[in-house]
Symmetry: C2
Subunit: 244 residues, 2 copies
Amino acid sequence: MLSKNQIKLIKSLSQKKGRQQQRSFIVEGIKGISEFLKSDYTLKNLYSTKLIFDAPQDLIVEISEVELKKISALKNPNTALAIFEIPKGNPPQDDGLIVALDDVRDPGNLGTIIRLCDWYGIKDLVCSLNTVDCYNAKVVQATMGSLTRVNVQYVDLYDYLEFTRIDIFGTFLEGENIYSATLPEQGIIILGNEANGISEAIEKTVSRKITIPQFGAIKETESLNVANATAILLSEFRRRTIEK
Amino acid sequence: MLSKNQIKLIKSLSQKKGRQQQRSFIVEGIKGISEFLKSDYTLKNLYSTKLIFDAPQDLIVEISEVELKKISALKNPNTALAIFEIPKGNPPQDDGLIVALDDVRDPGNLGTIIRLCDWYGIKDLVCSLNTVDCYNAKVVQATMGSLTRVNVQYVDLYDYLEFTRIDIFGTFLEGENIYSATLPEQGIIILGNEANGISEAIEKTVSRKITIPQFGAIKETESLNVANATAILLSEFRRRTIEK
């Protein structure tokens, strides 16, 4: 049986403040939980209606469907809910390709970008302090386990970029065409906010302005979705490394 | 004043059945409506709290904020709601690059794919009959006006693909690497369902299996989101056309 206090504690993790205070976050569903269990993440508690997980017995609490419904954020909870520790993570290295997000707000976009980083072998994802929290339940859900393989760090983005020694790329309307530009194997690629793009302060740190050209006769499309822009950029940067 | 009957008719357009019966769909918000007004779409009615649109006066109905809230599907309705005619559209030509969707179900994904088609100058988007309706309010919203520039057709996808004479591309795990494959200027690119990919029946029509390779040491990412896969494929196909 879950106590009122336990339920309250678990529920508080749906808010960023609660997650930061307890240094913990929630993963729901069999598949997601299994991905985190086999990763380096540390399990704190596992609440499940079925005893099907390979985890330390003292951390598993068997609960009823009714109890699961009480602690779950999902309309249709799926068997279990686990609480994992938020790792300290490692400061990003000035090495290889790094993705930096300047104020990306949509959880779905961040989740998809983490999946893309995983796909394209990007180890470090650096986020501005205003970027949506990667331990938000919707982000965790959207990453489909990729979060266990990408090192996400929240930093003062301007400070971080000011002191890096590698090239900083940002997409702008008037940049170099990415299809013909020389793209190195190491560098930082900045993606901006969904509505406003890269902020003025961050723009100043960009050493290489690039652009994804539009095709077709009518060029009225306003912009690409930030996750799609990330997909196209990572594809272009990585393609060059196989051609060498 | 809107009559009960008018409100009922407008509300019925939030369902696919209602849209098909009336051959009409809803566009909400100043920006979206303005995009459709300057396109080839035919306006049927415009309900607005402000008289700011350049449209035939006999089609404009001034309404109150309270009335707008009654007919809007949005939490925070934005000034106006317009009803446009669903165009017949043109059958896709076996010419240039065509995108075909085999059972894409998420409105956000379809909206983003339409934006990508617009960006990469794809004129024809062919959808299986089970693909989400492009006149669904969430799709219209997500396309941000691109729907006015892409010809979307719903067809029996298998029949359509059986009779085409151009190459049919589909992404599979065991396909040719897209970065090194020869990609023509014309062809049909098929994207599959979010959970199940391209169906078995449609797979049989594919003449060229291709793959987006994974990078990095750990290759556990399950798959790319369908809109991101579309972004990467269109980028690769179009890039080749500038290099020539």
